[in-house]
């Protein structure tokens, strides 16, 4: 969902795949990205719409994704939880190790 938010209006499958690879700093297979997108949409966390394809794609349509209100709420909850977990934690410095 963060990858979709980063891409704003350009979040279609291939772009999300690239963004996910960039954010995770590793190769991500197409299957795992599309499966995740499919599940997020089934849960109502993201929405999708179809748009016209390009000649490179053989005219095949693109599916653009946007984060739904429910998704924004879920992201906000996750962020709050993460902030709470890290609150007051100080990682030891190299010298103290």
């Amino acid at each position: 969902m963060l990858a979709i938010l980063h891409l704003e209006t350009e979040a279609y499958g291939r772009a999300v795949l690239h963004q996910a690879q960039e954010m995770l700093r590793r190769n991500v297979s197409a299957g795992s990205v599309y499966t995740t997108l499919d599940r997020l949409e089934a849960r109502g966390l993201v929405r999708s719409r179809l748009a016209e394809g390009t000649p490179v794609r053989g005219g095949r349509v693109r599916r653009y994704y946007t984060v739904a209100a429910k998704g924004i709420s879920a992201l906000s909850d996750a962020q709050s939880a993460l902030t709470a977990i890290w609150a007051g934690v100080q990682l030891p410095t190299e010298v103290s190790l």
């Binding site: 279609y12 499958g13 291939r14 795949l17 297979s29 197409a30 299957g31 795992s32 599309y34 499966t35 499919d38 179809l50 394809g53 390009t54 000649p55 490179v56 794609r57 053989g58 095949r60 349509v61 693109r62 599916r63």
Partner: protein, 190 residues
Amino acid sequence: MSAGTQSPPRWAEALLERLLSAREQETVVGDLREEYVESVVVQRGRLLANLWYLRQICSFVPRRLFQKRMEGQILQATSLFTFACACWLATMEMLLRHHGYGLRIVIALCIAMISMATILCRLAQMEKRNEGWRWAGALLLIAIGGHAFLRNVRATHFEGFAFLISLALVLQGVLLLFRRVQKGGTEYVI
């Protein structure tokens, strides 16, 4: 080289389409074609690009395999197979009465009961209610199948039929263990 000659092999695209739902066919195949033509072929060359495409196809296989319908069909088939095998083994043990036949009959009957319960629950489309039994049955099948598999591998005489049954038991156990349950839905448990 034109975009047409740089596109992924047609058979590979056809194979990918077979793995996708009707809703995804156009969009996913289009995305991967775009990536192949604009990025992968340019950076890696055609041979490596084709290998990359194959890897992407493979990444869709687990999802296809574990889709509700296909997963259910495989579970049903393995359950039928292990049920028939367990009944046959129990009958043979009763007739031949080799040393320790009693325990083997009990194990065979356990397998037959679990398999029959799996088949009946699926046919009756039972709702979520037997979680504990499902886990217990699945773990028992994996334990029996795993034990039979290891024993067969270590034995001096390899028995193909026993090997096949042990694989079926493990597969049935794994499918049963990881069977998806829809919360509050009408999807059956086993």
